[in-house]
Assembly symmetry: C2
Homo-oligomer: 582 residues x 2
């Protein structure tokens, strides 16, 4: 062992002890005849002191230490003259007797500090240095703890963690698969799983009753800022359950995690149907830390010769409490905000409620005080409030207003990062219409069970069917989602038909699952949580990349190891492959 203690361990009660420490040089300071070195490891920082008068050679050696040198020291724990209460070890220091350089270091390309000076690209290339910074270390420690507590809770509830294969079979549904050419079976491919969905259902058919797995999943998508080609799920499935059982079980899991990891008692979960969530918040993952619910004005706003409203399917707005003081400039910025291409509104109508209760709007040309008082009463608006209104096609307008609502929540400080408002969104539609492909797509996935009371609509009006599907949403972030599954072979076959599979395609891709359903499949359902996102939410930030030890960049590239990369001609030949273009 290179050390008797680690760098976060020594306290006043150790004064007088002979110790050996090892770690990295965080910083060296020369103060007259003394040299101080901050020695760092995962556990903390301990101050080393070298006295020029007592041991000149040793002190000179200490003065030559560079940042990030790896050293081992022997010495005695002494009381510190100027104590540092911000450090756990701040009351002591080590009077060093022996110093050994275990490894030197070049000067790092950026500083290893909480706030670093390195750009994202260079920090990804030198990930081993970035990982030394406290914020990243704390993130990965948090992730470890979340994983362990998840396993503990679920194991205590009788769940078994069962590993499912990574080399599976490509299915052209949904997102693109990564594929893996087989050498032994030239021209054939495995695929990496987008999720262990069918395997966990097979485990239910196999009688495993309660399954979970913290498991890597893969999706070959064009990456957005917050997506990774490989990501981790907490994947769960239960047999002999109804939706209510799943919601209760996993509410308890997340409650346990908040309690154990953050020491927070999560408030009760609210529930919203998908339809309600869209109507009241314009989003299937509303942030309900604050109200500012949508109010529809269509009936009172139309027929006043304002063509924007009159031609709209919906006129809908929000009331921002106390924001009547917004300046013209601020209102223009809000208009610019909703007109950005990512949001796509054509314009923004506003209406201030003055201190005397009278109204002042951007559409005074079309609406008189009496009209606007109608708005005010619809919103229950009070003096000092600001009403913001959008109009257009229902779905689009609601989505735009959702963005505006979140932005106003931010601007008014209503999205407190220390407040957690958990929510289940339930009763998702079973299908969504794909205008391009002129066909129905599964909103969740093809294994989701229709609500039993909607089964009769399968032939007449499949688009109106709701599913036993649910999402867990906290503070506007979708942490997980799942559904009760189909366990009847005939219903599953019918679903594939509705989704446009031929019998042959369904059989080729999912024959094993439909086969399994012929041998006594129990009712079952489950849920999957995005583990990267869960960790980020617990860490209090949005960037999942900071919670992954070795993330890829937006081009799906690992800048540290420089991958993907070319492979040898021999390898290609063994795999029976040619590259068509480079």
């Amino acid at each position: 062992m290179y050390r008797s203690h680690h760098c976060g361990e020594l306290r006043s009660e150790n004064i007088g002890h002979e110790v050996t420490l090892a770690g990295w040089v965080q910083r060296t300071r020369n103060m007259g005849g003394m040299t101080f070195v901050d020695l760092r490891d995962r556990y903390g920082i301990t101050q080393l002191s070298f006295n020029l008068e007592k041991d000149e050679k040793l002190c000179e050696a200490a003065r030559k230490l560079g940042r990030e040198f790896v050293i081992q020291v022997q010495g005695v724990v002494i009381e510190r003259e100027s104590k540092n209460d911000r450090l756990d070890t701040g009351h002591i220091e080590i009077e060093v007797r022996e110093l050994k350089v275990l490894n030197e270091s070049q000067t790092p390309p950026f500083t290893i500090e909480d706030e670093t000076d390195g750009g994202e690209e260079v920090r990804m290339k030198y990930r081993y240095l970035d990982l030394r910074r406290n914020p990243l270390r704390k993130n990965l420690e948090l992730r470890h703890k979340l994983g362990f507590e998840t396993r503990k809770f679920l194991s205590d509830q009788g769940f078994l963690e069962i590993e499912t294969p990574y080399l599976i079979k490509s299915t052209p549904e949904g997102a693109r698969d990564f594929v893996v050419p087989s050498r032994m079976h030239g021209g054939e491919f495995y695929a990496l799983p987008q999720s262990p969905q069918t395997f966990k259902q097979i485990l239910m058919v196999g009688g495993y009753d309660r399954y979970f797995q913290i498991v890597r999943c893969f999706r070959d998508e064009d990456l957005r800022a917050d997506r990774q080609p490989e990501f981790t799920q907490i994947d769960c499935e239960m047999a002999f359950v109804e939706q209510e059982d799943i919601l209760n079980t996993f509410e308890s899991l997340v409650r346990h995690l908040f309690q154990e990891v953050k020491g927070i008692d999560l408030p009760d979960y609210q529930r919203l149907t998908y339809a309600e969530a869209m109507r009241r918040y314009g989003s299937d993952k509303p942030d309900i830390r604050f109200d500012m619910e949508f109010v529809e004005l269509t009936d009172v706003a139309q027929g006043k010769d304002f063509v924007v409203f009159d031609s709209a399917e919906i006129v809908v707005g929000i009331c921002a409490k106390g924001a009547a003081s917004y300046t013209r400039k601020q209102l223009d910025q809000l208009t610019d905000f909703v007109k950005r291409p990512q949001i796509g509104a054509k314009g923004l109508i506003y209406c201030r409620v003055n201190e005397d209760g009278s109204m002042k709007s951007s559409v005074d040309k079309f609406f008189n005080e009496a009209d606007l008082q109608q708005w005010k009463s619809k919103f229950n608006a009070e003096p000092g409030d600001l009403i913001l209104v959008l109009a257009g096609e229902t779905d689009k307008t609601r989505k735009q207003l959702n963005e505006l609502r979140l932005e106003m929540g931010n601007q008014l400080g209503l999205r407190d990062s220390k407040t957690y408002a958990p929510l289940w969104v339930i009763d998702f539609p079973l299908l969504e219409w794909d205008e391009d492909g002129k066909r129905f797509l599964a909103m969740h996935h093809p294994f989701t069970s229709p609500k039993p009371e909607h089964l009769s609509l399968l032939d007449s009006d499949p688009g109106s069917i709701n599913a036993n599907a649910y999402d867990m949403v906290i503070n506007g972030v979708e942490l997980g989602g799942g559904s009760i599954r189909i366990h009847d072979q005939k219903l599953q076959a019918r679903m594939f038909e509705i989704l446009g599979f031929t019998k042959e395609e369904a059989e080729k891709q999912f024959g094993f699952l439909m086969g399994a359903f012929k041998y006594g499949a129990p009712p079952h359902g489950g849920i999957a949580f995005g583990f990267d996102r869960l960790a980020a939410m617990f860490g209090g930030t949005d960037s999942i990349r900071d919670y992954i030890a070795f993330p890829k960049n937006n081009a799906g590239r690992d800048l540290m190891i420089d991958s993907p990369s070319s492979i040898s001609a021999d390898q290609l030949e063994e795999l029976s492959l040619n590259i068509t273009q480079e």
Copy 2:
């Protein structure tokens, strides 16, 4: 919830309770006016009773239930007339009031019993049915427990579980990689990791101090019976440690697992150097549950005109206690055993120690009684013992004799499956000479540190260098292995050179690691355990396939999902690939 209790839960104290159960029909028996159904789930079996007189319709319905039907019943717990003490629920049964078939089942292609009548192929195809059998269920429960206890122990010791990427970079060293074509970077490939070796070293450079991960690894090898293209490792690494620290830490881990999972106190670990293990047992993973150590006869056996011995590099044997009674037929079978192509010996010499202490050998033509008495004394053989001798090239002959020793151990009942004899094999050679490639290969991997005292041999005699490398062996099974790593950039570069890498190759493949070593790499080392094999050892069998939920067959094929399989022309085009042959 479809049930108030599961099928392993009800006891005498529940008599009189109204309950709801759900599960699979294991078996139906009609006894006069009564019908009994064994209802099964993961947790156990509960007997259901139906009385023809009390409720004819219900009883008739029960009589129509087929094997593996999924049913739900409501009823009252009553005392069982003929109690079954082998079942936890054997004192009660359920007098059923209501019966609901949740799903029917076709007749399974094999019986769902502890000893099934299904062949391997059909059981893999219908894995969901095979998984219902008790032995497999117990195996996966054991695996879950081993995984959980491993995580608990290591977390308690300050290890962090950190996930490393699955989409990494191909390195032509060692076994073949599975590769993953990149769509976004046409013509380039990721590779699936054979182990997270370089990433865990990077984590040590990043200051994480103690890392572990239970992680899937991939190797595209021509499969042997006990190999899988994907397998799971318990992968561990520690910084600021010497070999002794690693051995102690992971001895404790395995001791903890034996204690928690099997309730067994593991005896002390023995230690053998690689050289000693080869000399005394002819194997780097000897089964030391029994002695039967090798004894070399070269000096006393040569020069007696027996050309087989005289032309041999080594004459070496074992003494099988009490086996002098082996018949001629048994001895012929042993000779056939060592002459099998997998073992490859040319013949077997035996020598019985008679009850009167005299000797009777298969080479009496060449050796007189006095010669044979010399053998006897070398072996410390006693009346009733059987000496078995092989001769030839040293390495080959030792390996052959190892096989014979294990076979004799089996035949003489010396390999008790309830006895555990743990062992560290240490001081492995750093390199092995590859006769085909006329070059050195890394025996462990290119990151293994030479013993410091052997560093001076790097230029003069690299083949004689030993490494700080170690294997954990229990009962002749290698459970894990590891090494202290190189952490000096120059030494690592020199190692690549010795292994025949050009500077460019080394830089292209491992530049990031050598780069990392320039920024303060701490001394570090680690170990990895084969988790599938560990589970099999704890389960008491050799077949790792029975400890994997969804294994592949010897051709690397998943028979249930039928993978690998072809992919669409569109997918190939997107990946910029052509298939050269089918």
